[in-house]
């Protein structure tokens, strides 16, 4: 139980990553796969932020005087996640437009049905 309360955030991040991977690998519907990517990415962001957390820490913003720098959470993972979120939305937008085009060409989003070219 101690482990659970200690690692709540890691467990959440880990579960999201696994669920996202499951959707990506197993689901046949392209839109579903893209949703899986969104969940997968969210899990990764949560993991990164959790890595930078400091217990009882404050946000790394000197919004009012008297904040102790020693008790602030690590800003680096937050900066990385900010960048990663924007990259993620870029990839998702491209994936969505490709899905729309796939539907226009094939009339289906089922990935097993649209495999024309093989090895």
């Amino acid at each position: 139980m101690n482990f659970l309360s200690e690692y709540t955030y890691y467990i959440g991040a880990f579960s999201l990553i696994i669920i996202g991977l499951y959707i990506i690998l197993v689901k046949k519907n392209l839109m579903k796969v893209i949703i899986g990517f969104s969940i997968f990415d969210t899990g990764i962001y949560l993991f990164l932020i959790a890595v930078g957390y400091l217990r009882e820490g404050t946000a790394p913003v000197f919004s009012k005087p008297g904040l102790d720098a020693g008790k602030m959470v690590d800003p680096v993972p937050q900066a990385l996640v900010l960048t990663a979120i924007v990259i993620g939305v870029a990839v998702l937008a491209l994936a969505v437009i490709l899905a729309i085009k796939i539907y226009a060409h094939y009339g289906t989003l089922n990935l097993r049905k649209i495999k024309e070219q093989r090895w």
Partner: protein, 490 residues
């Protein structure tokens, strides 16, 4: 001396400016990529003597590493920058001639962004920054594969995107794991803290990185996307994808394996993986009727050969690997350009439809033939010294496993020769009974890049010693890990 950051910033700035330039004149847009990469090529070549002497480190924002992001312009990095600029410049000449009736400016922007991303990957010294530039490269590649907008293009792009972004996600997890343990993102700094790959928490990021970058590097079994993507993109883009994109992916794998983690004990596995990739690629290429798919599978095979060479982890092997890498880049770019030009004439990608091309398009056929001979490894073309160096390195290594694998490599080379000769035979000797059609003149914008690629392949094939110093220095940079670390984090 020019600041290496400009190799990234100048093409990027010009790419940003294209939508504005469009208002001034639509004509000049197609010359912008050539301009950018000519700049890179000239100044990168001038920087090479400096780099051979000592690595050039660039801080960004005025913060010393590991606090800020730094660029490392060592021999390896500059070798790739020159290669990217060279291919970028020559292939963009090919695009002077309007290719499609579609939006031209977007093509040029994406093309420049793709190569800028590649340049960023090979220059940066920060693992997260590498990831960001890698994403630019990948995203531009996905879009360009789908550029023609036909069924095959869109479908390949979707496949490519799914596998590629899965890989990127894994890389990001790996970065998070490394930061959690070592508290830094600078590659040299991390490398200084990884003394041995023993514990599971160092081993997992390594696997994640190899998997993630391996997708782009087309390592077996992560290369299911490659044949479709390379064959359904426009020919110029296929040339860049085969000549630059997968090599940059391989660079990332090399950086991670040699510099970041400093692995020495798993090389047998990589040797095996390389030969497996080689055999599968060549066998699949042999059974193709579609010329672009054949070339794409041949790229997989070549990547396998490169992985084999680099996994020997000796100066000789790595230098040979780099030589073969350059040879593959130039040869494959030439082959795709020549094939693309012939496809544009016949309107078909079937090899059988190229009958009699030797008479109708003599120069293009000759260029294709030279590229094919170089790819197989015939003297006096560039592939010969490359394969010879790898052979020598493998014999020098002398281990039982290496020697056994060498036999398979020779078999693969024979297969490679068989399918390339088949195409050459179709070009020149098939279809004698066809009525003599008139010769098609070569457009100037097509002639120049093909001619220069051919020239480079022959010159470097005859005088390989022109670049061996640079290759040895590159091999040393990869192998001498403590020195690399010390030069950045004193």
């Amino acid at each position: 001396m020019v600041n290496p950051v400009l190799f990234i910033v100048v093409p990027l700035g010009l790419a940003f400016a294209i939508p504005l330039l469009k208002y001034i004149s639509k004509k000049i847009i197609r010359f912008v990529p050539a301009l950018a990469f000519l700049f890179n090529l000239i100044f990168a070549l001038r920087l090479i003597p400096v780099v051979m002497d000592h690595q050039v480190h660039v801080q960004i924002g005025g913060f010393i590493p590991p606090l800020g992001i730094n660029l490392v312009a060592g021999p390896v990095g500059m070798l790739f920058v020159v290669l990217i600029a060279l291919v970028g410049f020559l292939v963009s000449i090919y695009a002077f001639h309007p290719i499609k009736e579609k939006d031209e400016d977007r093509y040029h922007i994406l093309y420049m962004l793709q190569l800028t991303g590649a340049t960023g990957v090979v220059l940066t010294g920060d693992i997260f920054n590498l990831f960001v530039f890698f994403e630019i490269l990948c995203l531009a590649s996905y879009s360009l594969v789908a550029y023609l907008g036909n069924r095959a293009g869109i479908e390949s792009a979707v496949k490519y995107l799914i596998q590629g972004s899965l890989g990127s996600g894994l890389i990001l997890i790996g970065i998070g794991l490394l930061y959690g343990q070592f508290g830094t993102l600078n590659m040299a700094d991390i490398a200084g803290r990884i003394h041995s790959v023993q514990s599971i928490s160092v081993y997992v990021p390594l696997v994640l990185f190899i998997t993630g970058f391996g997708v782009e590097a087309a390592l077996f079994p992560l290369n299911a996307w490659l044949p479709d993507a390379h064959s359904s993109a426009p020919s110029t883009i296929s040339a860049v994808l085969s000549g630059i994109a997968i090599e940059v992916g391989l660079y990332a794998v090399l950086r991670v394996v040699f510099t970041l983690f400093g692995i020495t004990h798993m090389m047998g596995l990589f040797l095996l993986l390389g030969v497996l990739t080689l055999l599968i690629g060549e066998l699949c290429a042999f059974s193709q009727d579609n010329i672009k798919r054949m070339l794409a599978f041949s790229s997989i095979g070549q990547i396998g050969l490169l992985v084999f060479a680099f996994s020997l982890a000796s100066t000789l092997g790595i230098a040979g690997g780099f030589f073969q890498l350059i040879s593959h880049t130039l040869g494959k770019a030439l082959l795709f350009l020549a094939a693309g030009y012939m496809i544009a004439h016949t309107g078909s990608m079937e090899i059988a439809s190229f009958q009699g091309m030797g008479k109708r398009m003599p120069f293009t056929s000759l260029a294709f033939t030279i590229g094919a001979f170089s790819m197989v490894g015939l003297p006096p073309f560039m592939g010969f010294p490359g394969k010879f160096m790898i052979l020598k390195a493998a014999l020098h290594d002398g281990q039982m496993l290496t020697l056994i694998l060498l036999v398979f490599i020779l078999i693969a080379t024979v297969i490679e020769g068989a399918y390339f000769f088949r195409v050459v035979q179709v070009l020149y000797f098939a279809g004698e009974d066809l009525p003599d059609r008139e010769r098609a003149p070569v457009a100037f914008s097509r002639f120049v890049p093909m001619f220069l690629f051919t020239g480079l392949i022959i010159v470097l094939g005859i005088y390989p010693s022109l670049i061996t110093d640079l290759l040895d220095a590159s091999a040393l940079e990869l192998l001498d890990r403590p020195d690399f670390i010390k030069s950045i984090i004193p």
